[in-house]
């Protein structure tokens, strides 16, 4: 266990000094600042105003950029470290492969999740100072969803990093994965497939398998309980799960996908050449 936390700590220190982390933090921090600057907290849409409106917008934008950021930075730095000889040296030290791999994932998770969380905390603090009502239930729910999404794509990123032998291949694969999941959102390809008489079960299955769609449906559920904004798949989802059931699914499913991908990555990592 000691080696796991040592690796996690070392990875956090490495990441905090990396350029990607600065860009990443600036993007999410800047997003909140921009949303405030454009007076989003004062605007009203579909009955939502103040911080709720801001958090809703923030979470929708996060859905678009968080997965690609997590994927690309993970595969770039992990595969890049391997190419640059970091693995060759650090793995010559007497540290178990499990402690190394999972320590790296836990360290990386903190690094990718904290800026997103801090941006939301910043928004809450700002809102409190301005005397706006803080929607704590929404804040906690969205924090959980973002954690699940970040963990999911971190696991996928680690799997890609262990399978690809160069950072170029890893980046290309990560981008293709993100693009595929993005295309299968209900607004894009899934909508078209339904229009083209795709069986309802297949559409629902795709909507339930795609972690980005799961996240999107879950984020909309609170302000659109009937999911009228989504396509026909949403009705089936609501009928099958119910609101609470779906919320639980939306929180657990991405965590399971991320953990399964990371575990597969670890099995491959343990059996293959390390540097």
């Amino acid at each position: 266990m000691k080696h796991l936390w040592l690796t996690a700590y070392a990875d956090i220190v490495e990441s905090l000094r990396a350029r990607w982390f600065m860009v990443y933090t600036l993007v999410f921090g800047g997003l909140v600042v921009v949303l405030f600057a454009y007076g989003l907290a004062e605007s009203r849409i579909m009955g939502f105003t103040g911080l709720s409106r801001l958090l809703l917008t923030y979470i929708q934008i996060s859905m678009a950029i968080l997965p690609v950021f997590v994927l690309i930075t993970t595969v770039r730095s992990v595969a890049g470290d391997r190419e640059a000889g970091v693995f060759e040296y650090l793995l010559s030290l007497p540290i178990s492969l499990a402690a190394w791999f999972w320590g790296k994932i836990f360290g990386r998770f903190l690094v990718v999740f904290l800026p997103v969380l801090l941006a939301m905390v910043g928004a809450v603090i700002w809102g409190t100072i301005k005397g706006v009502n803080v929607p704590w239930d929404l804040f906690i729910y969205y924090t959980g969803l973002l954690m699940a999404l970040a963990w999911c794509f971190l696991g996928i990123g680690m799997l890609i990093s262990t399978l690809a032998r160069s950072s170029d291949v890893a980046q290309g694969a990560a981008f293709v994965v993100w693009l595929t999941l993005l295309l299968f959102l209900d607004l894009i390809l899934l909508g078209i497939l339904i229009q083209e008489q795709l069986p309802a079960e297949t559409a629902v299955a795709i909507a339930l398998v795609n972690p980005m769609q799961v996240f999107r449906t879950a984020t909309m559920m609170l302000f659109d309980p009937q999911l009228v904004l989504l396509g026909p798949s949403a009705y089936v989802i609501l009928d099958t799960f119910g609101q609470k059931g779906y919320i639980a699914y939306a929180l657990l499913y991405p965590i399971l996908v991320g953990t399964a991908c990371a575990a597969l990555g670890f099995l491959h990592f343990r059996r293959s050449d390390l540097p």
Binding site: A10, E14, E88, Y89, L93, L97
Partner: protein, 295 residues
């Protein structure tokens, strides 16, 4: 101590190691030489358990891949290219000491002997150090713990002459209790450090020879050189070895680490036409050196 038995390593269809058989005992100081692509680095990575391979590799009868912690806790490794780690020097030392169950102070002490003030660079990222400083720190981490096997890839390439001498002295302190594998492209770089030479070519061991172990690793040679005329390029080259010249630039004197003699003579050979005399003497003390200089 180390056994390679019919070790074969393939990268897709390309066979990089073609059935290597080797036994290395404690006290062996092995120069692993060969041109690029000979298989030196691959062999070292198999030994460290970083590559999977066919055949078997064992250290004290343990396979490095299956018994990583037990095997690697005995191994001090210095890579040829320092890794681009962003973590600060102080943290790297603490991290390495902690995973190796060693005392960070031991690593710091070795660094100080090599002329690297780790306290001064404590907060500086490792990657921002100069090539020589990185090398000194990696050597300190490898030697500042209870290692029984030292695996070093061109370890002294970036060191200044004084640091090289101290490095050789540090190796001398370990020479009876540890096995050493020193990889290099060129035999003359490491010849005086070792008592065994293994040459690899295209994935096979083509030479495995014992060599005379006459040079004391911690010895120094006191040296005086006379030139037929002063020459600026020679002055620049010899000053890098810490030599001091006379006012007219025709006489130079200084010290050379014993194991560095071949490398030093290699440098002198480039200026052979300029040399009128060379005097090299092994002496125990500075007093002996004074005697040599005053003769």
């Amino acid at each position: 101590m180390i056994e390679f038995h019919n070790v074969v390593k393939r990268f897709r269809r390309h066979e990089v190691l073609k059935g290597v058989d080797l036994t290395i005992e404690r006290g062996h100081r092995v120069a692993l030489v060969g041109s690029n692509g000979a298989g030196k680095t691959t062999l070292i990575r198999c030994l460290l358990g970083e590559y999977t391979c066919e055949g078997s590799v064992t250290v004290d009868a343990l396979a490095p891949r299956e018994h990583r912690r037990a095997v690697l806790s005995k191994v001090g490794f210095v890579p040829q290219l320092p890794p681009p780690l962003k973590m600060p020097v102080g943290q790297l030392i603490r991290f390495a000491a902690s995973v190796c169950d060693s005392d960070p102070q031991r690593m710091t002490d070795v660094a100080t002997r090599l002329g690297l003030d780790t306290e001064r660079f404590r907060h500086q990222p490792f990657v921002k150090l100069s090539g020589g400083q990185k090398q000194k720190l990696l050597i300190s981490i490898a030697l500042g713990r209870d290692s029984e096997l030292l695996v070093m890839d061109e370890p002294a390439a970036n060191l200044d002459p004084e640091a090289r001498h101290i490095f050789f002295s540090l190796l001398a302190e370990k020479k009876d209790e540890a096995a050493m594998i020193i990889s290099s492209h060129r035999l003359d770089e490491v010849a005086s450090l070792v008592n065994r030479v293994i040459e690899m070519d295209q994935g096979r061991v083509v030479l495995d020879d014992r060599v005379a172990d006459l040079v004391e690793l911690s010895s120094r040679l006191h040296c005086r050189i006379r030139l037929i005329r002063p020459e600026a390029p020679f002055a620049k080259a010899i000053q890098e070895w810490g030599f001091k010249g006379s006012v007219d630039g025709r006489e130079w004197s200084g010290q050379v680490a014993g194991p560095d003699r071949l490398r030093f003579l290699g440098v002198l050979s480039r200026y052979a036409a300029l040399l009128s005399s060379i005097d090299m003497r092994e002496a125990e003390t500075a007093k002996d050196y004074e005697a040599v200089v005053n003769e």
